[in-house]
Structure formats: structure tokens, C-alpha cells
Symmetry: C2
Subunit: 311 residues, 2 copies
């Protein structure tokens, strides 16, 4: 079942990918693109991503059946407040934020009884940002987590679920709190330590930045990709999922202390045991099609271009 | 200038890639493959990687002009001791170990005056191991670090340099101590924290392993690739580069504490500042051709296969 009028607020990587996918897979009859940045709206028009593109949120959401907020979680409350009075009765509101409990708390109070909020989080992305970086297959075979309120109107939830399934995503539902805990370990803490080690390397005196860059193929390189993600989006994630992130970071630190001790004491068995155990999770990820098994992410090997597989 | 007789001890990812490259680029007239594992020798013969393949190190190194030790650094001293009596006078010995000071200390004492040891470390690899995982272009446009002794015979150093340049690598020389410090931050600590977080995630009770695997696309996934590297090789690296690794790990921990504090205190500016700074290093790595700029490592996007660029 497709949406009559779909409004997307924020045309960055995710918002523009939803617009492209909705068009490609025929999920909405009318696509409205809303962004406060005139430069973005200009690109949206140039790329032909929507039927209507505007910087005016009130005008943009008018008459929409489904409104998806694709703005940094730190700004989502303000946006919700701004559009709420202009939503048509029965319009469903959703989002794509990487944090859910804080988003629910920021958005729900502003919405009228008839405007159900069905939070969503597509677990997909690249390190690039902006309307030009999106692509219609970004969500293909990726998970999208919905965290609807207990008493949510099933039709409203179904409208959001249908959009994501139409975009090729696998939809799961859980509580906002559990979502935030799961993402803290699978996404937030990994980003935090990636940002951290890149920062550490940049500040060394014994090793020059040029050396860090030259010899990055030894592993560091992979962290820099993650550490190139959008700064504002990530600042907001850490500020709004503070408790879960600090909790998981605590576990990480405990384990790291034990690992350092094993190195200091020369406990080769403990090291080998951990290094062997971690391979199993990798196999699981490849088996689930969440990663290509290609060596080294299929970076240039032989002359032949590599055709990545995504299960 | 090509080597008359090249002996490679240990036909794993690196050793077999050297064999393949030496053959492909005509860098040696005779290639001898030596491995203590009969199963590996069988694969080497099946794959036609060498003119002679044997499990007998003494026989294998006899008459060789250049012998490259491609075994885990923990085993390299034993191997050097075993082959030393059978080396022809003037034969040059090299290695590919990820740690240099410990390797020099383990190998040099066993060698005769005329057998110069020119340590080398090609900064390249994938998460796969064994003779089947190698490929001739693995070292193309990657750095190879030589750490020759101060008084080393220039002709010996040149023989090793020529091989690596022939394999497509960019050769640099530095002291073993500096190498170990540079690699601690660009390779060893990144691997350590990747192994660590994958271990942390595996041990959680609030989050199931199936959830960790499903939602790994949020960043965790990239760490699992690194954490799938060869356990024995990495155990040896941490045991033999202990001081530099613990030193760099100390810096990492200091920075991580400051970052946790910024999160706890809600210091968004500090977070945004770091997250912006880290982007510059990424740009440098892409600019130096050590990484493809393709989004998300060019994982499947549109149907079209991606042709990774490596500068």
C-alpha cells in the first residue's frame, strides 16, 4: 500500500535516499522535500528528487499522510513543534534517528492526538552527507527498527512498516530503550572509539601525521572511514544516548583493561583465545548478508573490478 | 635487478603473495617455497606458486641469494636458527614481520657475518590467511618499511629494496624502534580495540549476539573484519611489541576518558570539535591513494559493480 502524499523533512544522506527509493519503487504518489537550507532545496530540485521542494516546513507538511523527520536528533523536537500545527488530522509522523528514547520524548509532546508518532531507525548509511550522497538502494537488505508506543494505532504502524519494506528493508520492532542499548554497542561506541583513536594519532609527537597516513593500511584506515561521519549527527547521538553509551563504554573499558594486563603479563593464551573467539561473530555477519566476505572490503586487488555481494 | 634464487619460508597470505608477485613480475629466476606444514606445501604445488616446494628448511634455503622469512614473529628466531647453518655465504636474509626490534633481536644472533639481515615490513594485508588467500598485487602502491642496521652492506639492502619495488611497493627506511612505535598506533592498537569491542559485544547479556550481528551495519561491522585477522600472528605482535603498544594504548585511554567526560557533562562543542578534526586525516589517506573514496568501502549500492580506485 503506497502513501498518497509523503513529506520528508531534511534531505541529507538518509532523507534523499528515502526520496530516491520512494520514487524508484513507486511508494508515494507525491513526494514533498522540506529543508531549511536553500542550498539543499536547490540541489533537490536539480536532482529532481521530489514533486515539491520547499524551505517552508508548514507549507511542506500540509496535506501529507506520512511525514518523516530526517534531521539530527538534537533538532528534531524543534522541527516537530514547528510542523505540528500544520499536520492534517490522521497524518502519521516518523523519523530516522539513531537514538529513540530521547526522540520520543522530544517529539510526542508536540503532536495532536490524531497524529501518531511511529519512530523508526534504518540501520544503514555511509560516511557521506548531503542530498547528493543518497541512493535508492541504501536500505536494501538492511534492518529498520520501529519503536512504536504500546498502544499505537496498528494502521499507523503499518503505514511506516510498508514504506520501509518497500525500500527493501527488513523491519523489526522493539522498545525505544532496548533499541538505544543495542545501538550503543553496535554503532555508537564503535564510532566513539574510532573518533578517539584518530584523534589520538593526530596528536602524537613521536609519530608524524604523514606517517600515520602513509602506514594506515595496517588497520587504522578502517577507523578513519567511521571517523569521517557527520559531526553534528554524532554529537547529538552521544548527547541524547548518554546513559547507554557510557554503560557500554564501561564494559568496553573493563575488557580493555583485562586485555592490556594480558599483554603486560605476556599471557599469550588469553590473547589467542579472544582473537579466535571474535572470528565467529564476523562469520555470522557475513552469513547474514550484512557484509561482503570479500577480502579487505574488496579494495582494488587484481585489475578486475570487484562486484560486492550483499546477501 | 632480479634475484637468481629466492627462498620464501612460510607460504601464508604474505609469503604466497610474494611468490605470486615474484613470478608475475619476473623478480626471481628460481622460487623456492618452504613451509613446515605438508598441507601448505601441497597447496603451493597445486597452485604452482614455486619451482621447488619443500618442508625441509635446510634443503630449501641451500644456494638461495635471498631468503625471506614469512612466519609469525614468535617463531622467527627458531626458524633463523634452523636455516642459518645452511645459508650460502653472502645470502641476504629478510622478513615481513609487523614488529621489528624484537625480530632483529631474535634473528641476528644466529646469522653468520656474511649473511646480512635486512628486516622488512610490507604494510599491506587482508583478514584472510593461507596460501590460497594471496595475490600478486597485494603490495601494489602500499608502503614497505625497511629497518636495516646502521652499518648494513648497501648491496644487501638494495637487493631487498629492489624486490619490494618490483612488487609495486613504495620503500621507506627507518629504525626498528621508530617502526614499532608508528605501527603501534597505525595498526596494533587499532587491532587491539577492534578485537576488544567484538569481545565485549559477544559477552553482553542485555543484547543478544543475533542482535549484534543484525544491526552491525551501524559501524560495528567494520571492526569485525579487523577482528577476524589471524590469531597467532596477532598474539605474537602484542607479545613482541608490548612496550610501544601499551604506550600508545595509554594515550588512547587518556583521550577516551576525556571524551567520556565530555559526553557525561554534555559538552557538545568538545565532541563536535573532535569529530570535525578527525575528517582531515581521512581526507589525507584518500588523497594518498591508501583508500578508495567510495562510500562505505564501495559495498553493493546500485546494481553496477564498483571498481575500487587505489590512486
Amino acid at each position: 500500500m503506497s502513501v498518497e502524499r509523503l513529506a520528508i523533512v531534511g534531505l541529507g544522506l538518509i532523507g534523499s535516499s528515502i526520496a530516491r527509493g520512494a520514487r524508484t519503487y513507486g511508494l508515494a504518489n507525491t513526494i514533498v522535500a522540506i529543508d531549511r537550507d536553500p542550498g539543499v532545496i536547490e540541489r533537490v530540485r536539480a536532482l529532481g528528487l521530489a514533486n515539491l521542494a520547499t524551505t517552508d516546513a508548514a507549507e511542506g507538511v500540509r496535506g501529507a499522510d506520512l511525514v518523516i523527520l530526517c534531521v539530527p536528533v538534537g533538532a528534531i523536537g524543534t522541527v516537530a513543534e514547528a510542523i505540528a500545527p500544520h499536520l492534517k488530522p490522521g497524518a502519521v509522523v516518523s523519523d530516522v534517528g539513531s537514538v529513540k528514547a530521547a526522540v520520543v520524548a522530544a517529539v510526542s509532546p508536540h503532536l495532536a492526538e490524531t497524529n501518531v508518532f511511529v519512530p523508526a531507525h534504518p540501520v544503514a548509511g555511509t560516511e557521506y552527507s548531503g542530498p547528493d550522497s543518497g541512493f535508492s538502494t541504501l536500505f536494501s537488505n538492511r534492518w529498520c527498527i520501529l519503536t512504536p508506543p504500546e498502544a499505537a494505532d496498528e494502521a499507523a504502524v503499518e503505514r511506516v512498516r510498508a514504506l520501509w519494506q518497500g525500500l527493501g528493508a527488513i523491519v523489526e520492532t522493539m522498545s525505544p530503550e532496548h533499541h538505544d542499548l543495542v545501538l550503543a554497542i553496535t554503532s555508537h561506541v564503535p564510532h566513539l572509539i574510532a573518533y578517539n583513536i584518530v584523534g589520538t594519532a593526530a596528536d602524537l609527537e613521536e609519530v608524524t601525521q604523514s606517517e600515520v597516513i602513509k602506514f594506515s593500511a595496517g588497520g587504522f584506515r578502517d577507523f578513519t572511514r567511521i571517523a569521517a561521519s557527520d559531526p553534528t549527527m554524532w554529537r547529538d547521538i552521544f548527547l541524547t544516548n548518554r546513559e547507554a553509551v557510557l554503560e557500554m563504554l564501561g564494559r568496553f573499558n573493563e575488557d580493555l583493561s583485562a586485555l592490556s594486563r594480558a599483554i603486560r603479563w605476556g599471557d599469550g593464551e588469553a590473547l589467542h583465545e579472544l582473537f579466535t573467539r571474535t572470528r565467529a561473530i564476523r562469520r555470522g555477519i557475513v552469513a547474514m548478508g550484512q557484509e561482503t566476505a570479500e577480502a579487505d572490503f574488496g579494495r582494488a586487488r587484481n585489475a578486475a573490478p570487484s562486484a560486492p555481494v550483499q546477501g
